[in-house]
Symmetry: D2
Subunit: 342 residues, 4 copies
Amino acid sequence: MKVAIIGATGYTGLELVRILLNHPEVHITALTSERFSGQDYSSVFPSLRGIIRTSLETLNIDKIIRKADFIFTAVPHKEAMDIVPQLIEKDKKVVDLSADFRFKQPSTYEKWYHAHSSPELLSQAVYGLPEINRKKIRYAALVSNPGCYPTSVIMPLVPLLKEDIISTRAIIVDSKSGVSGAGRSLKTQSLFSEVSEGLKPYNIMNHRHQPEIEEQLSSAAGISVSITFAPHLVPMNRGIISTIYVRLKHSTSAQTIQNIFNKYYKKEQFVRILPEGTLPSTGFVRGSNYCDIGFCLQGKKLILVSAIDNLVKGASGQAVQNMNIMQGFKEATALEHIPLYP
Amino acid sequence: MKVAIIGATGYTGLELVRILLNHPEVHITALTSERFSGQDYSSVFPSLRGIIRTSLETLNIDKIIRKADFIFTAVPHKEAMDIVPQLIEKDKKVVDLSADFRFKQPSTYEKWYHAHSSPELLSQAVYGLPEINRKKIRYAALVSNPGCYPTSVIMPLVPLLKEDIISTRAIIVDSKSGVSGAGRSLKTQSLFSEVSEGLKPYNIMNHRHQPEIEEQLSSAAGISVSITFAPHLVPMNRGIISTIYVRLKHSTSAQTIQNIFNKYYKKEQFVRILPEGTLPSTGFVRGSNYCDIGFCLQGKKLILVSAIDNLVKGASGQAVQNMNIMQGFKEATALEHIPLYP
Amino acid sequence: MKVAIIGATGYTGLELVRILLNHPEVHITALTSERFSGQDYSSVFPSLRGIIRTSLETLNIDKIIRKADFIFTAVPHKEAMDIVPQLIEKDKKVVDLSADFRFKQPSTYEKWYHAHSSPELLSQAVYGLPEINRKKIRYAALVSNPGCYPTSVIMPLVPLLKEDIISTRAIIVDSKSGVSGAGRSLKTQSLFSEVSEGLKPYNIMNHRHQPEIEEQLSSAAGISVSITFAPHLVPMNRGIISTIYVRLKHSTSAQTIQNIFNKYYKKEQFVRILPEGTLPSTGFVRGSNYCDIGFCLQGKKLILVSAIDNLVKGASGQAVQNMNIMQGFKEATALEHIPLYP
Amino acid sequence: MKVAIIGATGYTGLELVRILLNHPEVHITALTSERFSGQDYSSVFPSLRGIIRTSLETLNIDKIIRKADFIFTAVPHKEAMDIVPQLIEKDKKVVDLSADFRFKQPSTYEKWYHAHSSPELLSQAVYGLPEINRKKIRYAALVSNPGCYPTSVIMPLVPLLKEDIISTRAIIVDSKSGVSGAGRSLKTQSLFSEVSEGLKPYNIMNHRHQPEIEEQLSSAAGISVSITFAPHLVPMNRGIISTIYVRLKHSTSAQTIQNIFNKYYKKEQFVRILPEGTLPSTGFVRGSNYCDIGFCLQGKKLILVSAIDNLVKGASGQAVQNMNIMQGFKEATALEHIPLYP
């Protein structure tokens, strides 16, 4: 299958390439970049020297449509909303890694982002969390790939909400992310000297991933769920830990919690449920598509901890997982990386 | 004044030396170590080459008593409880950096640690948080220096509890610490390759600093306060961020919160209160005795964020601050380090 | 093929497992450890949870001989020399990752290490640098896997020595290594707080890898070569950069140098020669079996720079490459990891 | 004394402020920045919150001349050459931290940088290495502060060149620097995710600090000295290690080397000479004005290793040291920081 990546020179673009190069069904036929157009992809990312010979090209929709059957859009939000409809119109299948198609309600999107140029596509887009929406993804033309924080938060919470065992009014999420989540664009706060030795919270109760999480949790719970969300930037490259504080409706045993997680995730290849009291670490999922979930229980207090690699399960790995489902490939194809430790 | 440090070769011992070497009233007369006894202190810590000539000696209580008027004990818990009483008995003033004298009730200590050999001293020891217990510290013979996490948690919470504006039943503390907090002893989980790129929670709802925090908060609130405490290890050397989720009893304005903090801390040289929405970072307090406190308010949801350098305000800086108070020196003497950034 | 790893709980043991789990011809049948015997391998290294079910066992040579056809010994030097002969005697094939069989002369080994218990095996062992010794490796029973520094130094130098274009009397090697090279054993100097922000040289002109490098270079040059070797520890997990200063016998062009490298390495899948002036970085080989080689030329001054991942091409990747050759498997099997960047 | 810093929002500007705030003779009266003009300095660098109240102002030479007696110029090269002459003309004393006045020959500067607008000032400017040029600095109006790499290289080499014991034709310098040396401006290669885990050489035999080093070494040797210089970027904030390979003219003892260093540096407060075989680390000088020098000797092979904090002895600390000399203050005033370890 011929695949194009629009916006290939960010970290998620690079990670898509890293994964897809090992995909037996995929042939990468186009990589676009405005800034590096004309250059060899491997001169922008020398890690790929000798592995890929593709050159970067300026985005030309007609050309992409001719060159590719399946397209990943890895451009910033606002840019995606103008590109994606043109691809869908030509019957291309698309996984969009931006935030532009993650909300059902245009108003929510417009409140947190800006005006939407293609609101009609929102209802059609499927939120690409395979473990939760697999069936819809299978027949979607447009899959909106979840944000990194949302992936780490929604996965541990959905089973508990569906089983209706936790309060929907007291969910507190304290998330910690590595710096690659901020992308490859130039910002003072992403400089090594600013980040190193400098743990810092940011956008507390004011981060765009909060409404994204709330929409998905509400959908799972069947009633409106709002959360308290506090993200933090951590001096490391990859990885997210979300520590989630919830309250059980009734006291219950650790085994019950374990059973619920098993019910939803036991057959999932990319979810690892840890025994009560055993806690995950970003180091144990680095470079892999795993989402590790641990928990601690004390009376009605339940603390969930999830760990993902923000560039893999939190972005490009999940995007390829979605592609595999959409195309009817084996879901884990090209995604069975063993975590790189140390 | 002649000062001895018992247990001088851990990171808190080294940090005491770094600070005291600039103290105009202090002369370091003894440094003890069992492991490095006989060696020059500057051969163990070459950062001090040419700055200090003292050699390390095996602990001999009689000798220490002859050599010093003021003593810091920076040995692990359980060791301190056997040493401190002998010093107090000889009318020495002591700041103990271990956990051995931090609890009023022997039973609490014994539940979380082990049997106590000198329970009678517990009532006499003063908990050394200067901004809160300054008057008692002034005339204490034994000051028990607070833990690093507790310092970062108690300071932002006490004013709110004393003013009775937050619920005492829903305090959630998510703390993140640099690795120097684990000390200089050899543990696999402190190895560079284990820590680097590896954010991880540990001892959730099961950390010994939790009862220490609860005892102090209860004392401030006048009623029993219990918290949910989740510590995390972060790939950096120094620094703690505590993100604290509380619930206001009544909706209030950011200005009210600010006023309360100002009432308690405006005159405090080592506390910096940030405007609502401005958040601290460990980078901005590195190497200094500051405790920076920020907050975010939304309805009745209040999130506090504090930042300290765990080795300074979280340990040795605070210990020297206590010494200054006990001895009637100017409180900030030798502690006016400007944060080292970057 | 049934494979055992003796000494499976160091970083090179873990890296062997990571690689071999993806090897279609390999079945891991035994993993030994004295310290963690009886435990699940995935409880020691939770990155492998759900991926491997093998438990660790105490080393019992008879048992290993029954269980495995091919054996990796990843124990410290001195331990290997007692184990390996027993395996060879039973016609097992062995790749030894220690230093015990890297020297042809027992006297060299004994000068830098200690007495050798099996000197008779030294002449039989093949030094496992596939790009240089491939033919001998093919039929060896015992391959001695090169050290990490030596791999990074020998590969760029051998072609120039074989072509006789550089002076053998003025080779200076300045190497910089990540901390995983020091292994997983407990040493103060491997603690995060000691390493972070702390670049340091060590064992200058006194490192055991120096005679290993010299023996291989002498063999390539046909005359005795001695080098100046200065290793440095760098605050990062993985990776080695060796910067090598040599003097050309006659002025020559960059193209000539390039041609020589191409002659030796153009067909090598794991060697990437960069154009003159383009320099490698550890980041671009992380997690992969590549050795990247760059150079800068000015008159007769030639500076070579090589980059490897010390745990892959510098240890376990190369060990598997050797196994593949010894067994007649496709040489790159299980080794085509694309570098993980960032 | 009233002091201004022109270009106060880079890392060297911030470090000047950190140091000068503790200087009893200095009052900071102006801080300039084009980008952050009008903002409080402490809002740009929150580490200084509550410590300094000065606001940033656009550069206006007339205003600076009225407001300050002593001026540090911490702007990029090319900018400094237009500013400094106007200050000198008005009889201000200036320490310039750029490269603009570091060369005696305009032609050298113009070959490596660009055209010089004030070549007449070059002969008047004194190269500000106090341990070598103290007497000239004392009466200079304009001191050109050395580069960070040059400081680390010139200091260990000058005594050996002056004593004429090493060959001037085979000096190889392999330097490794933390990332703060690249400044606070936005460059992809300074991003955390690019730097972390990514050691890399750059500008080998093509770095602008090479001619600066050569000019100073030639001046010390009395004949023209050229070096081979290879800088490397290391994943850490602060610190430079220079490993310098030289050849002795005649075999000599370690004691002789030690004696030479003692002759030149024994009375120097900021130079620490280590015993033969003991090697420095950036960690042991962090935050301090020390230059640590170690060496290893083997026959005629001599390897020197120096360590400095690039922002202190390599930039702002040295600049203040120069100011102290120019003004007749005690040379170590405000510079006696004990290294921050860990």
